[in-house]
Amino acid sequence: MSEDASKPFEPKIVAFFCNWCTYTAADLAGISRMQYAPNVRAIRLMCSGRVDPQFVLAALSEGADGVLIGGCHPGDCHYQEGNHNARRRFELLRLMLRDMGIEDERLRLEWISASEGDKVQKVCNEMTEQIRALGPLRLATVPRWSADGDHDRAAELVKQVTS
């Protein structure tokens, strides 16, 4: 990661989109040529219920300034209730991030159905602007995990707290 001091701050946002609703909505935004901030990088998961709290922490520690989680609307989950799990974990995770001094705006959960391409556009733009206003996330305290996934003690604890 290189930071060019002369360049204005451009937030990096990692997004976890469920395959059935939000990722499809993002495709729809594309098909409809809705222009939005290029700051969001989407990672496709089958269900927002797959989002492990560690993914969020990993993203923040690897240089993301914010994390967006997108799932189906309540009651619309392709797997019945994965999005409820996502919401429960999100709420706990948000409390934890607050304790770590991370602003609420940096973690966002949105229900975006397959037909809501415009909502993808709106949410991505909004979140980019909010984080741009907050400035870069500077965290020394978030533990770094290695990529091969060897789970250290902290990660285990996080998982226990949040699942």
């Binding site: 395959n19 290029p38 990672i43 219920g49």
Partner: protein, 674 residues
């Protein structure tokens, strides 16, 4: 085809020596190349760890594009593949197949969506290029960790279920039954036929609807390969493509379907001497008794008792002459709901549409002025088997001398339905012709734009113009009984700007016909959830691809036919029903389907036996061995959502293609390099 073919055979190749990744960047003509600097992405990709080859090509999905991948794999240059092109929902299956053809597991493949997620949505070229690089890096990092997986297959049950017995369901059922498949056709009304059965004539040929529909209805009933369930609905669906278990509820009609011959003697015998209840099939214009048959050619020709109206059900005191009148002893007043479960390989949804509720537009006076009708009501008036035997008689009596037909009621309207309902222009012209023919009335059509694309449609418009139907280009603002002049007294006045002459006109008429638009069924959302498919914002079911997979859904094994997917006229509906039947036949005759590879599995050694996953699994796919205190996943039942994986406290639950390690790598990839 968006679905991989069954029976992908692949020879395992050695992965010794670590991953060697090939990155293929697609131009997609100018769709990507017009925004993203392809060369820069290729150069960047070639610097990433484990990348052995980085190439670009105009259309990676074309045969030569796919051959690039196959050749590199076969030549041993690469053993993993990343394609940066469109969305995986579009072409993942294509490239997995190419990877398999190259001689390895189709799952040594990852896609980066640099079209839908980058070039189509980004304003600035440099931004787009940077984002494309990040997504490619994510894919490269993750594909290095992909494991060797064999495609899983499951056999397909040969039986098929069709939900909805309108013309779409009927046509699909007959097509498949003729091909030798057993079809369960489920219809919630007491007869099949749907909306088409209510029409008198069909545009543009003016065929009599009954003449072309009723033979097909009879054929359904007579077909040995069709099990017809009317007055029934689906209450639950379990399983997956190729093997669904569907639970159906049979509602009581209080008459045994196997005994009733449709002689209708019971209706004559009923203690209700007069038919007093507004008949649903006649849009309330005709009347029926508590025991009734919707229309003479109802299929099956079995009567129904309406317990809301039947004196026996209301008071328990009725001599029940109906029972007496029945020679077959078909009555069973003790009937209750029954449930039945069937196993089918595929499902076609043909649940149809409803028409817009005209009362939502008070400015048109529907429900206030008796001589304002909906188009469906007029269909019944014109129908020889309808409440007036085909005479156009007004509610207040008498024949209309001047008739106004208002197009686009509820359609093309931001306050109601934004979409064009597609069929109203044509059926309004048809009604104009019929009303003029039957009554000799002057007919005015008020339209916003005339839409007559279709074989013979413009010619039909031409014919109607020749017949002297008045066409006023302007949306009607209101229908009123306020008379501003003598000729308006006692009549309805239609107010619209004739936009072609640039003046507002007030046209007094005796009858107003509202060309109500096409809407999703009111319970479309429930049906969507039941079958696990999706709806657009307006509520029509979403097809897998608007052009290339118009009858498939995102849920394998569930297909669509007819107006439940969007407004359609009869020819289109029938064509789509045929297409859905063909897709199902292809699947059933193949005998096997490829299952989702991304199932969960438990690392036995790491499992702590906490049972968190067992309770979370929505499909009951996780079992628990009480002796060993270990969980295990039944991969046939697992649908691959990964909910258990996200929750497993010890990291023992993992998901093929979405392991923690793979996702961590993708996160790093999208963040680290750009």
């Amino acid at each position: 085809m968006l679905e991989p073919e069954g029976g992908l055979t692949s020879q395992p190749i050695s992965t010794n020596g670590g991953p060697r990744i090939g990155v293929y960047v697609c131009h997609c003509g100018l769709n990507i190349a017009g925004k993203v600097d392809i060369q820069a992405v290729v150069e960047f990709a070639s610097t990433l760890p484990n990348v052995a080859v980085a190439r670009d090509y105009k259309f990676m999905c074309s045969d030569p594009g796919q051959e690039l991948i196959e050749r590199d794999l076969r030549d041993g240059l690469v053993n993993r593949v990343v394609v940066a092109s469109c969305s995986p929902l579009m072409h993942e299956a294509t490239f997995r197949k190419a990877t398999a053809k190259g001689g390895t597991s189709p799952f040594y493949f990852q896609m980066a969506s640099i079209r839908e997620h980058v070039s189509w949505v980004t304003v600035d070229n440099d931004d787009a290029t940077a984002k494309a690089k990040a997504l490619v890096a994510g894919a490269v990092r993750r594909v290095a960790l992909h494991e060797y997986l064999e495609p899983r297959q499951a056999s397909v049950r040969p039986d098929v279920m069709i939900v909805g017995g309108g013309i779409a369901g009927i046509h699909a059922a007959l097509t498949m039954a003729d091909a030798g498949k057993h079809v369960y056709l489920v219809e919630r009304e007491s007869t099949i036929g749907g909306h088409m059965a209510k029409f008198d004539k069909t545009f543009p040929t003016l065929d009599c609807a009954a003449c072309i529909l009723t033979p097909k209805m009879s054929a359904v009933r007579a077909h040995p390969n069709i099990t017809l369930w009317t007055y029934a609905d689906v209450v639950s669906v379990e399983g997956f493509t190729g093997d669904f278990t569907v639970r159906v509820r049979h509602r009581p009609r209080y008459v045994r379907e196997d005994l009733c011959t449709g002689c209708l003697a019971c209706i004559d015998a009923c203690v209700h001497k007069q038919a007093k209840i507004p008949a649903e099939f006649d849009e309330g214009l005709g009347k029926r008794k508590p025991i009734y048959i919707p229309f003479p050619q109802a299929t099956p020709p079995v009567v129904v008792v309406d317990p809301e109206a039947c004196i026996w059900f209301k008071t328990g005191k009725c001599p029940r002459p109906c029972i007496e009148a029945c020679e077959r002893d078909a009555f069973d007043f003790e009937q209750t709901e029954t449930f039945e479960e069937v196993k089918v390989g595929a499902i076609i949804l043909a649940t149809g549409f409803k028409t817009f509720d005209a009362a939502k537009m008070p400015e048109y006076g529907y429900g206030v002025y008796p001589n304002v009708y909906t188009s469906l009501e007029v269909e019944r008036l014109l129908n020889a088997a309808g409440p007036t035997s085909g005479e156009v008689v007004l509610r207040g009596g008498g024949k209309p001398k001047v008739v106004g037909i208002i197009h686009c009621v509820g359609s093309r309207d931001a306050k109601h339905n934004l979409w064009c309902s597609k069929v109203c222009c044509m059926y309004s012209l048809k009604l104009a012709h019929m009303v003029k023919e039957r009554t000799g009335a002057e007919v005015y059509n008020f339209y916003i734009d005339m839409r007559t694309p279709g074989k013979g449609y413009e010619e039909f418009y031409d014919k109607i113009l020749k017949e002297g139907v008045h066409m006023v280009r302007g949306r009607v603002a209101g229908v009123t009984d306020e008379a501003a002049s003598l000729e308006e007294e006692g009549r309805l006045v239609i107010r619209a700007e004739d936009t072609l002459i640039g003046s507002v006109r007030r046209i007094p008429v005796d009858m107003v016909i509202l060309a109500v638009g096409v809407e999703p069924q009111p319970d479309a959302q429930d049906v969507r959830r039941l079958f696990n498919i999706s709806c657009g914002g307006e509520g029509f079911f979403t097809e897998r691809h608007p052009k290339l997979a118009p009858v498939s859904t995102f849920t394998d094994g569930v297909f669509l036919a007819g107006a439940c997917q969007g407004p359609k006229d009869i020819p289109e509906t029938v064509a789509q029903a045929g297409a859905a039947a063909a897709e199902v036949l292809a699947m059933v005759d193949r005998g096997a389907v490829v299952l989702e590879a991304s199932t969960a599995f438990i690392d036995d050694a790491a499992c702590s036996g906490c049972k968190t996953c067992v309770g979370l699994c929505p499909f009951g796919a996780i079992g628990f061995d009480d002796e060993r205190k270990k969980a295990s996943v039944n991969e046939v039942v697992c649908k691959g959502c990964g909910i258990c994986v996200g929750a497993c406290p010890s990291g023992a639950a993992q998901q093929h293609l979405f392991t923690d390690a793979e996702i961590f790598s993708e996160i790093e990839g999208v963040l680290e390099y750009v």
